[in-house]
Symmetry: C2
Subunit: 451 residues, 2 copies
């Protein structure tokens, strides 16, 4: 895998945070050097990729100098100490303008950090800038925002996927080794899959959302984007405010392959590539799960109802007072959102509980479920329809189809890069039972750590 | 008070359950005799009052015989053993038809008892029949249902108030000594006030709602209607499945009088009568609370949003498939209910929490709040507007105005009869902090038990 490189690569491409952390402590590297490398990579690549929307070299370097001083004084804040990290622009930072990708917040500077950012700083991380988010995180393509479209490091004509568009592009291209994303229907895993990096959506409510601009409060999650599962876990531990539990797996893993087509059409080559990778990793423990297709439409409808009602709650005044400041596509979605009825929302809440209970029962038979993260490779920027097999399908619906069920049910799910189709990355999604974040990461570290 | 009698009175008028229970145990009375007395009273009075919609003498007498047998065998199930009790017709009973006051459920027989009914039976109570509910409990007047209007025992031309219309009329007229009601906006306290009996709405979720037909799940409550606070407490203990805590009041009660007009206009005579009664009972401990009027409109709107969305959730299929089976007034309300938007419901949920927190702070300064339960006396059946002072106001809005704030905030509230205006009963409402049900009942027993 490490032999293939995206078209656009920076200093951190393929670098391990663990190794960088060792070098920082050995004195062969400083945080200022790492931060400068990040800034240089951004300067070189960002005009093409549009991953970062705010960078402030003096602010970043001041943090790095402090990190170096502390380390010199023997004050070691842990594995992220001195490591450059990017933060998605829908997450508040007191020292960087935070636009939420919207003209409504052009130039806005929050008064304080989001709780997850506060934890990052307390862990000694250097925040080098803010990454492009699809406007208000309300879109999975990453090509509509105040700052335009993010571009895929593997082919800049293509989308990154979204809404954590810039974070995935920044890590995939090696501008930074780690980035924060948010995920309401797949917004971490989709761009991670389309850009070929690891992206982890934790269990619901495991990482606090304080200071993260809400899209849909019952579906929103914060999580890490990284080069490897190992690095993703380091960042997850900081975000969750606790170390992952260590343990050994008591028995062979029971792995359920979600039958292709269950949640919508899958490109045949993507399907084959992901299935082969899963076979290779999980071997004989891989079994096809009983059909989930019968629930797919209901789950999708339920998620839509929750997301729409909750999103309109967030934006009602902006829609009334300055609708012209929204991107037309986002505005159109909010207009639909306004229409959801209260009784439909109540039923969606009840249906969500039903699906959560159903999935909980499924995990009595399986330790993890696996599927493609995204059923296609990255389409062109601004494309809105794509041909999959014999069908023309909506790009947004397609990219969300295999990720959003795990937002509705709140289960931990990770994207793992498992190769390429026609030169573009494809990802395997692995899903675990609610609260099994540590175990999912532990097992994936074992299975996916490069030699 | 006991010198004045309603026009229509039965055996249990002014009777104490505690005294009846003593006589049952002394052998000077049997449950069969009490039950027969209830059946005779119902037979005589019900053609005028329309309080009961289902009575089954053999079923009731069989329960009474069993109660007598048990008592003869020394098996004493507690203070309600052998006592006739009426159950509102929106509460499931396996042995009586349960219509919820609606043509949709004409002749419907539930497969099992509501949990509160199960507790009643386990306490040895004799269920003598089902009492009229306003259709689906969706109305505070008690004059629209499959079985028509209930009639006020003090003047049969007037409403009982609702929706626990029949339960209040049955107790007020002495057909039974105790009855179950439900209260979503005032449906226990309003008819209790207009009929001159005690009605208690416990704290939210203290009495389980299983088997009670829902009106609005975040506002619904089950509670007792009785001749005295003492009797209401006996029934409450059975419904809640636990004995009330005993204690002595550590200091003089701090009583807040809710300034007249805070939640809507109050008839001057009602206001005077209730205020004088409060002054007489609470004396110098009575102080006017800081104005709540600024919150009244917001609280009313919040309750409406919650109630409407939740009610339409319950009735959506019936509204689509057989709207003609609804009473036109209830159907009109459901048509409005259909319109509440999801984002408005979400905001109403948030506002409910805000008001709950606000009221919790108010109870740092007061032990109880008091006000009229209902700002008018019972108007004529089918009247929909009434003159209060200089204003013509909607009867429904008027009767709900002082009770519904305590459904929104989930606080325990009790109606106590405190006299008459032009020959019709008026009630004092006493409200306590969330969870202070036992203390509220204990203090009211002390203050309101007749010599």
């Amino acid at each position: 895998m490490s032999l293939v490189k995206p078209t656009h690569t920076g200093y951190f491409f393929g670098q391990s945070v663990r190794v960088l952390a060792e070098r920082l402590r050995a004195g062969s590297l400083t945080s200022v050097e790492l931060t400068q490398a990040a800034l240089d990579s951004i300067e070189r690549l960002n005009p093409t990729l549009n991953a970062f929307v705010q960078v402030d070299a003096p602010v970043a370097l001041a943090q790095a100098r402090k990190a170096d001083e502390w380390l010199a004084q023997g004050q070691d804040l842990g594995p992220l100490h001195g490591i450059p990290v990017a933060v998605k622009d829908n997450i508040d930072t007191f020292d960087y303008v935070t636009t939420y990708g919207s003209a409504h917040f052009d130039g806005f500077k929050p008064s304080c950090d989001a709780l997850c950012v506060k934890r990052l700083r307390e862990a000694g991380a250097v925040i080098v800038g803010k990454t492009l988010t699809h406007e208000f995180a309300y879109g999975p393509t990453g090509d509509r925002s105040l700052q335009g479209a993010a571009r895929n490091p593997w082919d800049a004509r293509c989308i990154t996927g979204g809404s954590s568009a810039g974070s995935a592009a920044a890590v995939a291209s090696g501008m930074v080794p780690l980035a924060l994303g948010t995920d309401t229907g797949g917004s971490i895993r989709i761009p991670a899959a389309l850009c070929g990096v690891v992206g982890f959506k934790p269990s619901y409510a495991v990482v606090p959302l304080d200071g993260v601009f809400p899209l849909s409060s019952s579906l929103d999650h914060v999580g890490p984007i990284a080069n490897s599962v190992e690095d993703a876990r380091l960042l997850f531990e900081v975000l969750a405010g606790r170390a992952c539990a260590a343990a050994t797996e008591p028995r062979p893993l029971r792995v359920g392959w979600i039958r292709s087509g269950s949640f919508g059409p899958v490109d045949a080559e993507v399907d084959q590539q992901v299935y082969q990778a899963a076979k290779q990793v999980f071997g004989d423990t891989l079994h096809e799960v009983a059909d989930l297709a019968s629930m797919a439409a209901g789950m999708k409808e339920t998620l839509l109802m929750l997301q729409r009602a909750e999103a309109y709650d967030v934006h009602a005044e902006r829609m009334q007072e300055a609708p012209q400041l929204f991107d037309p596509e986002v505005r159109e979605r909010l207009e639909l959102s306004q229409e959801v009825r209260g009784w439909q929302y109540i039923r969606a809440q009840r249906a969500q509980q039903h699906y959560q209970a159903h999935m909980a029962r499924l995990f009595e038979d399986y330790d993890v479920l696996v599927s493609p993260s995204v059923p296609i490779t990255a389409p062109a920027v601004n494309a809105r329809e794509i041909r999959v097999g014999e069908q023309d399908i909506d790009v947004r619906a397609a990219v969300l189809s295999y990720t959003s069920p795990w937002n509705l049910t709140g289960l931990p799910a990770i994207n793992l890069p498992v190769g390429w189709v026609k030169g573009m990355p494809v990802g395997l999604q692995v899903i675990a039972a609610a609260g099994e974040d540590d175990r999912l990461l532990r097992v994936m570290v074992e299975l996916f750590t490069r030699d």
